[in-house]
Symmetry: C2
């Protein structure tokens, strides 16, 4: 069996989503779901998460089929995390109707021993305290630690969010979160604050407007892929992170142009994800299709 | 005397502007002012506009010093167009306190005869009917006609705005205007509508998020330059348009990679403009500084 190279800790959920292009009920959702499937295109990825007894076995089969290692998926008595939301015509904004944390509310992630020396670790949308606990479970400091967060923790424990950033190599945030955490509208200022906390790379995700990478004094930009039809943007940020870490793991390094290329692969996967509900686009995508889109990104920025 | 290659019709104004970084009163403003100074870095540019008897002679001297041909600047009895506004910490949004159209309200642009065979014509923020009248004053159809518009005309006469687009080669619009004119949140859909109207190139300006170019099936993207301090974004869209047309005129063509390179020069100038109030940054900028920023754009998108 292939050794796990990327570990992700985050949520696994049932999502009910309505967008101008349709509606789905209790489909696969959660940050770790999108991340692990996206990352698995490039590197063996282990998922650490929790589900309830109601979790659908077909989703576990789906993870396995996509190459995700699910030995870190814990079953707990109770119901699986459930999120219900909708998007209006402005598909940049998710409106929450209902959030049932269920088994996720008492989740204490425990990394399988086979995960504890993985070189790439992604600390997804769990509390900052738990993110740090997960990091401490690793046998040694991974080659690359990346973190994400949520407005929920930024509002309640900004100090702890910053502590996690200071322990990370790559910090990913969306535009609104970065503005909120650092109390500035200027994303350059926010990114510099992330670097000052100690992260080597600050990545700001801007949805349809693309994403920014700040590494020291170097700046890199990837546009949003010009989609004429955004069916469901849920999970695109997590797919981005999965593509990023997975690609980096496949390169076995993060320096030089690797992280720039990883950003483009991540953008390609994130845009594909938004073309269908839930993880459907990622399920049917091939590496060749991803590479084709990466080539389009190159054409889109050449002058 | 050098022949005028680029003609711009638009507003010349006094602006009073307040931003988080300071405040200025009755400084040079107006779309044609920013456009003509930016364009003059690359090509002889003639300005068609109107001012009142109160207009400051030092601004006319400034235009001349920057190489702008002002034989199309008309003096009319009355006061110069005056705009007063402010920006909050979100510098993407201009808040208007006062608009006095003054002599601009009865402006009937008349092109000097020396302008009437210029190869590049920019139809700035005057009414669509006047834009078409200006086009008819040209001896023959210019090599390249570019147009811009304003939400004011989009709301009152969308049909006429579309008519002007159908007579243009390049249509520039900001994000909000494009969404409003074509009643869609999706910019790809809006851009395709512009091309369907007959323009060869649709350019959507997104402020700090950069700009998009759609030409047939080809798509190009330029990021916003990462400014840590945006002092005053007034006129950056017009500086962008001036840089675009001026650069194209200097290349004597719009095909191939010319328009992509022009977009990058335009973005460089637009970002420089936002670093100081009014036209101050453009006044002191050199072509070498613009080229240096263009090189930075190349570095920012290479992977």
């Amino acid at each position: 069996m292939k050794k796990v190279e990327v570990v992700v800790v985050g949520s696994v959920a049932f999502d009910s989503v309505k967008t101008p292009f349709g509606e789905v009920e209790r489909v696969l959702g959660g940050s770790a779901s999108f991340f692990s499937i996206a990352s698995s295109f490039f590197a063996k990825t282990g998922l650490v998460g929790v589900v309830g007894r109601d979790f659908d076995e077909k989703f576990v089969q789906l993870f396995r089929k996509k190459g995700v290692d699910v030995s870190g998926l814990e079953y707990s008595d109770g119901k699986t995390f459930f999120w219900k939301g909708f998007y209006d015509f402005d598909l940049n904004i998710a409106h929450t109707i209902e959030t049932q944390l269920n088994v996720f509310s008492s989740f204490k992630p425990v990394l399988p021993s086979a995960y504890r020396d993985a070189p790439f670790l992604f600390l997804g949308n769990i509390s900052p305290a738990l993110q740090l606990e997960v990091l401490e479970q690793m046998k040694k400091r991974p080659l690359t630690v990346a973190c994400d967060t949520m407005n929920y923790y930024i509002e309640r424990e900004p100090h702890n969010v910053k502590k996690v950033i200071s322990h990370s190599d790559i910090c990913l945030m969306n535009e609104a979160e970065a503005r909120e955490l650092f109390k500035t509208t200027n994303l350059v200022v926010a990114a510099k604050q992330i670097l000052l906390l100690g992260a080597k790379h600050a990545i700001i995700k801007k949805g349809e407007h693309g994403s920014l990478l700040f590494s020291g004094k170097s700046f890199f930009f990837v546009p949003g892929y010009p989609l004429e039809k955004v069916v469901d943007p849920t999970g695109s940020g997590d797919s981005f992170a999965g593509g990023l870490l997975g690609f980096l793991a496949s390169q076995k390094k993060t320096g030089g142009k690797s992280i720039r290329r990883a950003m483009v692969y991540a953008s390609a996967i994130a845009s594909m994800n938004a073309e269908q509900f839930s993880t459907r686009a990622l399920e049917s995508a091939s590496l060749a299709q991803i590479r084709k889109r990466v080539k389009e990104f190159r054409k889109m920025t050449e002058f």
